[in-house]
């Protein structure tokens, strides 16, 4: 157990050490999120009326945070695929280290990385008009929920990164799958504006429940249609989503890692 923890910390250290040395990655991740803020706050936002009123920018920012967190899956998958491609995974696997530390270290460092990105985005959010209408405990609870979800998305990323043939495929799969997931949701538009058949999907989409949960925690506009469970208990549903995702993808990822010697 001790060895798992120690080796996880070393792998985490290594992954974090890389971030400032390839600043482009973090900068573009932040720029991408800021681009969405600018596009929707200033371009589309004026055309999107919120049922029940409220500030669109205040509505938008929690969605942007959630969208960024969902993309954690791509970050992890790309990192994993890159380690395979460069032969580093082979090096790790030839060492007498705790086997799973390669995965746990990757997930731990990606959560820290996403926490950093979140801080930058929150500051940007304050600049364009996002407000915290509740207190510090609610702020921290919302951040904790986002990071729990980042961990779940990283767990998907591990599974994905170990399964793709190259870094480029990891990027492609990440974006072609994650973009629709973050758009068919309440991130940018109220789900009531979607066609009827799409509404339940958007409501149960974990990106939506995560967004709704943070809006609720922070007192931001949260016009959710329906009286279903996701609308009434977004925090609870988000936690369940995260646990289910981790419970399914983490064992599969570990198995895929062990089967690399097949």
């Amino acid at each position: 157990m001790n060895r798992i923890l120690a080796d996880t910390l070393i792998v985490t250290w290594r992954n974090l050490k890389r971030i400032p040395r390839i600043p482009e990655l973090a900068i573009f991740a932040i720029l991408q999120s800021i681009m969405f803020v600018v596009l929707f706050a200033f371009v589309f936002g004026g055309a999107i009326p919120l049922p029940g009123g409220g500030s669109y920018r205040e509505y938008l920012m929690p969605g942007i945070f959630a969208q960024t967190i969902v993309f954690a899956a791509a970050t992890t998958a790309i990192g994993m695929a890159d380690d395979i491609h460069k032969g580093l995974l082979d090096r790790f696997r030839s060492l007498p280290m705790a086997r799973t530390a390669v995965l746990s270290g990757r997930m731990a460092s990606d959560v820290v990385y996403n926490a950093g990105i979140l801080v930058v985005l929150m500051v940007s959010g304050f600049v364009v008009g996002w407000k915290l209408n509740t207190g510090i405990p609610e702020l921290l609870a919302g951040i904790a929920l986002l990071l729990l979800f980042a961990f779940a998305m990283s767990s998907i990323g591990v599974l994905l990164g170990l399964g793709v043939p190259s870094v480029e495929v990891a990027q492609q799969v990440g974006f072609t799958v994650l973009f629709p997931i973050t758009f068919i949701s309440n991130v940018f538009v109220p789900p009531s504006t979607l066609p009827d058949w799409l509404q339940p999907i958007a409501e149960w989409n974990p990106t939506s429940t995560l967004t709704a949960a943070t809006r609720e925690l922070w007192g931001n506009p949260n016009p959710f249609v329906g009286t279903g469970l996701p609308a009434e208990e977004p925090v609870l549903v988000t936690i369940v989503w995260a646990i289910v995702i981790i419970a399914i993808t983490l064992p599969l990822g570990v198995r895929r890692y062990r089967n690399m010697s097949r």
């Binding site: 060895r3 120690a6 080796d7 070393i10 792998v11 250290w13 290594r14 050490k17 890389r18 040395r21 390839i22 395979i84 491609h85 460069k86 032969g87 580093l88 995974l89 082979d90 090096r91 790790f92 696997r93 030839s94 060492l95 007498p96 280290m97 530390a101 170990l162 690399m260 010697s261 097949r262």
Partner: protein, 329 residues
């Protein structure tokens, strides 16, 4: 105790459309403190064999032990006595050389202080002290390869696997790498080395196993293999195609085996004994026969010659894909 034993190793790579028997019953024995060269062309199964012995890959059949530990059932014990360095320099290019070594030392379960000390020693030993605090991205190919080898040595392994340590290096870096490997061997490390170059196996290995199509087809010392192949080669490039029959006649008489002709380049090759004296004799006889030549040279037998003699085909005739990192994923 033998450092490495392998019996009947089989590894089959299956894809949707094909099946490649990368290893087809490999037996291997390496005595403690010796250097064994696994010599073969691309795709012969060298890398697969090393990956199995280094616990990265499980064999489909057969068994192998390293330092007495079974590579499948006691993989973690094997990992704590081996070092592996491959043809792909597997170091983190966004860390410095020192950080790489420290990290691998820690993961080899060395205490932090010892890792730091060992990293310093190895940077010194591999002539990387000045570059030690630079990010690996800025290193040359030769420097990366040295760092990769240093990483394999961080835990003072008893047994070292080097998979094509000089493939892709320029001649000067190759000679430097040879010096480094020789000094390791002097310290008593047991070494299994794969290579495509007969010259390299000759320089470094006590004994050689020749591998082709996943099978060991010959073993012995470099001298034994070379005498099997028949000494040196003399190559003659004839100026005028019309002179070829007369040149062939001369080589048939002066050479010590059957000549071969490369039609395209008008190059005749013949095994020969007697070194430069023989070279002079052939030049004189060609001159007497009125054959004008563009070039003549004496060279040592190559892997190609070994393969021609042992298998009847050249080493590069049917090169297949080598299993690279992650190939089995």
């Amino acid at each position: 105790m033998r450092a490495i034993t392998a019996e009947g190793l089989v590894k089959v790579y299956r894809t949707r459309s094909s099946e490649v028997r990368a290893l087809d019953g490999v037996d291997l024995e390496v005595e403690q403190g010796t250097v064994v060269g696994l010599l073969g062309p691309n795709g012969a199964g060298k890398t697969t064999a090393v990956r199995i012995l280094a616990t990265l890959l499980r064999p489909d059949a057969g068994r192998a032990t390293v330092a007495g530990f079974d590579v499948v059932r006691q993989a973690q014990e094997v990992r704590s006595v081996i070092g592996l360095s491959g043809q792909y320099a597997a170091v983190d290019e966004n860390l410095t050389g020192r950080e790489n070594l420290w990290m691998f030392g820690r993961l080899y379960q060395l205490p932090s202080g010892e890792s730091t000390r060992r990293a310093g020693e190895l940077l010194e030993q591999f002539d990387l002290t000045d570059a030690g605090d630079r990010v690996v991205k800025t290193y040359s190919g030769g420097m990366r390869r040295r760092l990769d080898l240093a990483s394999a040595l961080i835990g003072r392994p008893r047994l070292l696997f080097l998979d094509e340590p000089t493939t892709g290096l320029d001649p000067r870096s190759r000679l430097g790498m040879w010096d480094v490997i020789r000094s390791l061997v002097r310290e008593g490390v047991t070494l299994l080395l794969t290579t495509q170059y007969l010259e390299e196996a000759d320089e470094l290995a006590d004994s050689i196993a020749v591998i082709d199509h996943g099978r060991i087809i010959a073993r012995g010392t470099a001298d034994e293999l070379k005498s099997q192949v028949g000494g040196e080669r003399i190559e003659v490039v004839v100026h005028d195609r019309a002179d070829l029959p007369r040149a062939e006649e001369v080589l048939a008489r002066d050479g010590s085996g059957q000549w071969t002709l490369d039609e395209h380049t008008r190059k005749l090759t013949v095994p020969a004994t007697g070194g430069t004296a023989k070279l002079v004799e052939i030049v004189r006889d060609l001159d007497l026969a009125g054959v004008v030549i563009d070039d003549i040279s004496l060279r040592r037998p190559t892997l190609d010659d070994v393969f021609l003699t042992l298998t009847g085909h050249g080493a590069e005739d049917d090169a297949r894909e080598t299993a690279g990192p992650g190939a089995a994923a």
